[in-house]
Amino acid sequence: MNITLDNKDGSTLLRFHEERLDAHNSKELKDYLLELMDSGSKKLILDLSEVRFVDSSGLGALLSGHKNAGLREGRFALVGVQSRVQSMFELTRLTRVFEIYPGVEDALADGTGERPHDSKQD
């Protein structure tokens, strides 16, 4: 798994440099996210712009990141989601679960940890 780390305004920016997030590397990503959070990084922004393919186990790794950030009162935001990956979220009804932003700046600007859609509701 090829991933790089960066600090941006107190958030940890992760760039996932793989074309696929699938059963071959999803476990590794999941464990990596958990380790990061356990070592104190609570605000994670995962840049998926190089990922053109996600399978159900990849979704599982992202869900794990999302849930663990919630448990630790941290944050897990996704940026750079390609349209085919987005349709995977739609197919599995996860679009409203994840905190998704177009780019890193958008995620940083809206650093509430709330889902972007929440403000529009009720």
Binding site: E19, A23, F53, D55, S56, L63, R84, R93
Partner: protein
């Protein structure tokens, strides 16, 4: 007649590192099919996805390092059929529940995705093990 058929029989080691290869071969098929009227990008992604889901299920739930993973893809006219073989204990396909969208469980979406993208899905015993057969009209 078999003269208008494309048929691929593939054997790979039972390892997740080869998921990308098979998925990409599925994409290639979508791009090079003659006479497909739909969106090839979508078809390519979907073939990649159902192949990846079906093969990773074998690796996770029915795999053995000593056996090859076998998949057969055939296209005849507008009928696509994918067969993924395993030599595990088998499972009850009809009994696999549809995932609850409210439940953020990390697994249990593979069969749902396959069912959603293919016209028919069938799992049965063969003389050498089991086969998951997925069909779709293109």
């Amino acid at each position: 007649m078999t003269r208008n058929r494309i048929k691929l029989e593939i054997e790979i080691p039972t390892q997740t590192r080869y998921l990308g290869l098979i998925g990409n071969i599925g994409e290639q098929l979508a791009w090079d099919l003659s006479d497909y009227g739909g969106d090839r990008d979508v078809l390519a992604y979907n073939l990649n996805l159902v192949l990846t889901e079906a093969l990773s299920n074998v690796i996770k739930h029915a795999g053995s390092d000593n056996q090859a993973l076998r998949v057969c893809i055939s296209i005849e006219g507008n009928s696509l059929s994918i067969q993924v073989h395993d030599q595990g204990l088998g499972f009850d396909l009809e009994g696999v529940p549809c995932p609850d969208p409210e439940d953020l469980c990390e697994r249990g979406r593979g069969i749902f995705i396959i069912r959603h993208l293919m016209d028919s899905v069938d799992y049965r015993k063969t003389d050498k093990g089991n086969v998951l057969e997925m069909k779709k009209k293109l």
